[in-house]
Amino acid sequence: MTGPHILVIDDEPQILRALRTILSAHKYRVTIAQTGEEGLALAAAEHPDIIILDLGLPDMDGITVCAHLREWTEIPIIILSVRNQEQDKVKALDKGADDYLVKPFGIEELLARIRVALRHLAKSQGDHETVITSGPIEIDLARHIVTLDGAEVKLTATEFKLLAYLASHTGRVLTHQNILSNVWGPEYLENVEYLRVFMSQLRKKLETDPKQPRYLLSEPGVGYRFVTED
């Protein structure tokens, strides 16, 4: 009995060698593709549970692969990128990627992202939760109530809307533009300052140490992410 099936699309043999060994040891079934073309074919043929996709492929760029995949499947996609590719990361996320990791990354980080993606997959196939819990935070989406260690926290309308939007995509990186257009409206795409200020207010109300947030995380140059504790 093997675990979930992961398709890794990357062209560097050493990374593939390491990932295959590590992921197999964690009981994942691993398939490997070294080009975008091959990756798209394998994704269609084998229907993996998760795709790990490198942005720099020899035949086409990862963003294009992402866009092609999203034409027919909702399989979670985790992007691997190198530094100085913030614009590319944002583009990939906008094209439907679920998450990204910057090389070099710690393997715990990758495993955590894989778990989040799998949970997200299970959730999207089942019923939508109306109550989301992360550590001491409990968000009741239907009743518009947020509690911290059982005590109700007063949030303004926008604060709640922002938290609810992040929480309903738990674990996923949401780009600034994505959040702004969904919470404030499409005409606010450039007003990142709203997001900064309201995130900071949310952290003050919900995080034990707002300076070292554990649930409402910044993704520098890209966006924000709400995480639940594993």
């Binding site: 530094r83 900064r196 070292q212």
Partner: protein, 490 residues
């Protein structure tokens, strides 16, 4: 020569002759009315006045014409017998001949004086133009500008229908073509092509289209002087540029080899540690205790982080060098950036006490989040590198003069000699010996690059009990002050 211009010329000449004729006619009329009062010899003298006027105003040939007409009129109206060209008296014949001689002589003398005056004026204006030209070229070092000066000055001086200046391309420069007047694109064979060349090289040429077909000798002289001076200026500029380029290349070569040696030295150290740890772990000779195994692996982990930091700095440096460091500004919360960096660097900073003093009410700052992260990362790395373990590193920020932000990263590290303070932001500059303290010497120069790209300034300062990096950033963005996001009521 075009027909219209030769017609003009003819009309002008004809006008002069007609005017000369008229003056003599009027003089004759006046003298005729006064014939009884003057003797014939006085009349002859009086006739010299209009001849003089004609020569002075309308030139030599109209002067000669006036002399002849005056001669005939004098004979006809004032010498007996009147109204014939017959002369009876011998003395009258002598007077007539002398009159003609004197009139012609006057015409000649005056005409020659006028011509030499005109030539002197022309020479003077020629000299002035050449002076202006060399003055125009003197302050200019740019090839395009020099070409512009040559083309425009030649155009102004020669007044051609059209002018085209071509500078041939070299291995360093692209070709330049200037056509005047700008809108005129009509081609055809030029009337005149002057090469722009010096003893050493041929640089290009100057083509002229002239309505008058050819140039006067004086104009040709001016043109060849313009061309020669222009060519010299062009050559000087080209040589200067080639020299600058050679110097820049040499400097960049020197920097590159310095970078390579610095980087290879820098990478070897963590690589050596990693290699030692992993080969130990791979070896079957020692059954490692789990505590030791963990220690070795932590070393490997930390060293890879450090390698990654070095590579990041190299990438940033190459972007700064390529001029690609354009900040992607947004209104950001400074403390969020600083706290993020501190969290990420917890391993590097674990032996230090960290104090962050950023006031709550500090306005939003217009910066590139990622680049500012890099600035703080490098400043904190530097502080951790030099300050003794267990000491305090402080990050503080204040609004200053209303529209700027002052940030200070303070550590308890050793002081830096005053004459080094400026230079620590230079590339590859390290105060201590390369062997003593690790680092590529890139970190601080990246900070400088980023801060300056944000329109700010960074400097370092010795403190009574330590050392501080200070930078100042504008709080306005394209003239706009920090936005205030309204608080929402519950």
């Amino acid at each position: 020569m075009t027909s219209s211009s030769s017609k003009h010329w003819l009309i002008a000449k004809l006008r002069n002759f007609i005017l000369a004729f008229s003056v003599i006619s009027v003089t004759t009329l006046i003298l005729f009315l006064l014939r009884e009062r003057f003797s014939a010899s006085t009349v002859a003298l009086l006739y010299l006045v209009p001849v003089l006027i004609c020569t002075t105003f309308w030139g030599f040939w109209p002067g000669i014409l006036s002399a002849f007409i005056a001669f005939l009129a004098y004979n006809f109206f004032f010498l007996l017998p009147y109204y014939t060209f017959i002369v009876h008296q011998t003395q009258d014949i002598i007077a007539l001949v002398i009159f003609l001689g004197v009139a012609v002589l006057i015409s000649q003398l005056v005409g020659r004086a006028k011509a030499s005056l005109a030539m002197a004026v022309a020479r003077e204006s020629e000299t002035t133009r050449l002076y202006e030209f060399s003055l125009g070229l003197a302050g200019v070092n740019d090839l395009d500008e020099i070409a512009g000066v040559i083309a425009h000055k030649t155009f102004d001086t020669m007044q051609p229908d059209r002018l085209v200046l071509r500078i041939k391309p070299t291995n360093l420069e692209s070709p330049i073509t200037i056509a005047l007047p700008l809108e005129d694109v009509s081609a055809g064979k030029p009337d005149l092509v002057i090469p722009l060349e010096t003893v050493r090289t041929f640089l290009g040429d100057l083509s002229l289209w002239l309505d008058r077909g050819r140039l006067a000798p004086s104009e040709e002289r001016v043109l060849s002087t313009l061309a020669a001076q222009g060519a010299l200026a062009l050559e000087r500029a080209a040589l200067e540029r080639a020299e600058t380029r050679a110097r820049v290349l040499e400097e960049s070569d020197r920097l590159k080899s310095s970078l390579l040696s610095s980087v290879s030295h820098e990478f070897r150290t963590p690589l050596a540690t990693i290699k030692a740890s992993t080969t130990s772990l791979l070896s079957d000779q020692i059954p490692w205790e789990s505590r030791d195994r963990k220690e070795l692996l932590s070393v490997v982990d930390e060293e890879t982080d450090y390698l990654n930091y070095l590579v990041g700095n190299l990438l940033d440096m190459s972007r700064i060098e390529a001029g690609a460091l354009k900040p992607n500004r947004q209104w950001n919360i400074l403390s969020e950036i600083v706290e993020g960096v501190i969290t990420r660097m917890h391993r590097v900073l674990r032996e230090y006490r960290l104090e962050v003093d950023i006031p709550e009410q500090l306005p939003l700052v217009p910066v590139d989040y990622i680049q500012m992260e890099q600035v703080f990362t490098n400043l904190l790395h530097n502080s951790a590198k030099y300050a003794p373990a267990g000491s305090t590193i402080q990050v503080s920020a204040r609004r200053q003069d209303g529209d700027s932000l002052m940030v200070m990263v303070k550590n308890e590290g050793p002081q830096v000699a005053p004459d080094h303070l400026e230079r620590i932001f230079d590339k590859f500059y390290r105060v201590t010996e390369p062997e003593k303290v690790s680092g590529t010497g890139l970190g601080l120069s990246i900070c400088k690059g980023v801060i300056e790209a944000h329109g700010g300034r960074i400097w370092a300062k010795n403190l009574p009990n330590g050392f501080a990096f200070i930078f100042k950033l504008p709080l306005t963005w394209e003239g706009a002050p920090p936005p205030v996001v309204e608080e929402e009521r519950l």
